[in-house]
């Protein structure tokens, strides 16, 4: 027995599902959805939970995260109720609800998210200003802006921050979706085996290849989405390599013979190559989505929320400033390169701090949901 609550749909409607109450429950969306599967039907049941106000049911549905918003449901909806928008809005609602203390709410208001971004940027800017070293203007040496130790510590803090929040929010989410577990019990050994097996399925198929997304009709979107993901990963690798090259950590080399053989410069070259590739595809992906959201020619891009913009714009700026650093280095405009570096750090800081609450969070929640779903599938396939 569950109780209806008229306020849920009012909240969700504010998050983007403007027409959803026009739904007359025909099921066409669910039957047409390429990602809908037995026991994990979507999107119609999510619509029902939202309209009836069955909040626990909604938040317990991994289906929300199994959806990639292909838009086929919205395109075929006979009532123009836009089920895809409901799924998106419900995900936004879930991000708020799963977030610690509901803090993510900030990023679902235009004004609040701009204010918080400004505040974050000021904090980052102040940090750079306060801890800055003396700039070496004859060449580009990042550690002449901020010391190695500072960057190291700050990076560590941010990494811990992300890890803790991701863990806490992940647990919160899991506590909800575990109610959607299918009936049946398996022996402990099989459980572990399935858990590992489904983890690798998630890692390779979902995280790295976004295979489910490729079932959507619009392949260009799938490519762009994958481009953002891989652009981000590659840039992360490039940044790490670059950092490794420039950091004292390679002092370790002195201690180990085998490491001595490695030419440090190879890190730089690799970082450049990977960085350029990653940057290009990342820029492509983010520009694709920014463009789509500006021209609104597709069902999924018709309505954009503050959180979508925060994520897209930040990732774009991070990549852009990263590129510009390199350009200014090669053109010997070191002062500008430093400025860009500072901006790059600020945007990266903003991106990382807001990540658990904006669209970035999709990545994490989706992986948990898909892992859960793959695990359940293994459970019934037995």
């Amino acid at each position: 027995m569950v109780r209806t609550n008229p306020n849920l749909i009012r909240e969700i409607k504010k998050l983007g599902a403007f027409d959803i109450t026009a739904c007359y429950s025909c099921g066409e969306c669910t039957a047409i959805c390429p990602l809908s599967e037995n026991n994990f039907e979507l999107p119609r049941m999510m619509i029902r939970y939202s309209i009836l106000g069955l909040e626990d049911k909604l938040l317990s549905s991994p289906q929300l995260w199994l959806c990639y918003y292909c838009g086929e449901c919205s395109e075929s909806c006979p009532r123009d109720a836009d089920p895809g928008a409901l799924m998106m809005a419900a995900r936004r609602y879930s991000i708020i609800k799963y977030s610690l203390g509901g803090i993510a709410r900030i990023f679902y208001s235009k004004i609040m998210s701009i204010v918080s971004l400004i505040v974050l940027s000021i904090i980052a800017g102040l940090g750079i200003y306060l801890f800055k070293e003396s700039l070496d203007l004859t060449r580009f040496d990042p550690f002449s802006l901020l010391s190695y130790e500072f960057i190291h510590t700050a990076g560590l803090v941010l990494a811990v921050y992300i890890a803790v929040i991701a863990l806490l929010q992940g647990i919160k989410m899991y506590n909800y979706i575990k109610h959607s577990a299918l009936e049946g019990n398996l022996p402990a050994g099989t459980k572990v085996k399935n858990l590992i097996k489904s983890f690798f399925i998630v890692l390779f198929r979902e995280a790295l290849a976004e295979q489910r997304y490729s079932k959507c009709e619009r392949q260009s979107r799938y490519v762009a989405h994958l481009a953002i993901f891989w652009g981000f990963i590659l840039l992360f690798i490039a940044t790490t390599l670059d950092y490794l090259k420039n950091s004292n950590i390679l002092g370790l080399r002195e201690s180990y013979e085998i490491l001595k053989a490695i030419d440090i410069e190879i890190f730089g070259v690799l970082a450049r190559i990977i960085g350029i590739i990653g940057g290009l595809i990342g820029v492509y992906g983010s520009i694709y989505f920014i463009y789509k959201r500006l021209i609104k020619d597709d069902v999924y891009s018709e309505y954009s929320h503050a959180s979508d913009w925060v994520f897209l714009v930040l990732i774009f700026l991070v990549i852009l400033t990263g590129f510009l650093i390199d350009i200014f280095i090669y053109t010997n405009m070191f002062l500008l390169a430093y400025a860009m570096f500072a901006a790059h750090l600020i945007f990266a800081f903003d991106l990382i701090v807001t990540a658990p609450f904006t669209k970035f969070a999709h990545f994490g929640y989706r992986l948990i949901a898909v892992w859960f779903y793959e695990y359940q599938k293994l459970k019934i396939s037995k």
Partner: protein
Amino acid sequence: MNKLACDVVVIGGGIAGIQASLDLANMNYKVILLDSGPSIGGKMILLSKTFPTLDCASCIATPRMAESTHHPNIKILTYLQIVSIDKHDSSFEIKILKKPRYVDESKCIGCGRCSEVCPVEVPNEYEGGLVPRKAIYIPFPNSLPNVALIDKENCIKCGACERVCPVKAIDRNQKQEEVLIEAKAVIIATGIDLIDYSKKIEYGGGKYVNVLSSYQFERILNATHPYGHILRPSDGKIPRNIGYVLCVGSRDLNWGVKYCSAVCCMYSIKHAIMALHHLHDAEITIYYMDIRTYGKGFEEFYNRAVKEGVKFVRGKVAKIEEDPETKDLFVYLENFDTGKVEIRRHDLVVLAVGIVPTINDSALFKAKLNVYGFIERKLIDVDPASTSIDGIFVAGTAAGPMDIPDTITSASAAAMKAALYIERKG
């Protein structure tokens, strides 16, 4: 130019137009009944049986057609095009263009020998294209006037028909003819057409041979059935498992119309019951969202279908796929009884295609149309036969989707209003 005069011009020779004409004629008004097609009778005469009584449609429509043909107060003109309708102070002037049949209507005795010898075969639109007709043809067995016409576009001018015609009725030199009718009032009874379901790509867009429109299935079930039995078109096998998809184009903002077509639920149930009578052990499944059996005796009819074994499954069919080998069909839907997405196989799928108004030239009819293209009824809550123009009245489905009883009632009401208008009493 020919000139005619009468009290009321009724546009549209379907059951609504016929009923309105008969009512007016019985009140002693002179009526001219116009039909753009080669025969009066409209959609109803082409139906098999009518719900919920299951009496045959031609048994009801044929005598009405005959009565209107023989009524001294009614003149019928067919195969024509309305050129203009103009309102003057106290009268209307309707200009029509009578299209040439290339067969002399006054001579032809409807023996059909010409069709027998004609070598040209084209899809028969009256049979939903399921079987061919000839280039010279009588539209359907009980057409009125029961005379042949030549389909000029397909005629190869071989002269075979001229040679066999016993009364020398074929006249290749017939020209179109303008006729001007003066009338005191006008009734619009232009009726409906089916929604073009080829727009629904997910249903095969008319490509799958074993996906029939409800009209085609209606013809298959008809007593004068084109196949002589219920057969599926691809291989002539008797279908054992028929799927019936409701709301094809109706209630669908995506590619169809916003309104409900008001008749599909009932005709689909009728088809299911009739099909079950022919194919005793067949499985018939109707996929629906809401069963709208709202009229007198309709709910009882629905309950009867359930008792007789027709399966009703709630869920809108999202797409249909064809097995390229067997030509069997697979329908995709979310079944609300199980909560699962199901893919179900059928030998034959019938689409309950919704209805749209036939009127496509609003300027011509003068009377205002509503957003769906039906005639707008001005004083709908006190006088449902009225239109935006005084003296023009609307009958039947030209005003919106309705079933046959409602159509007949609205036609009688329109006749009453036209009579009152002519009398100007009040």
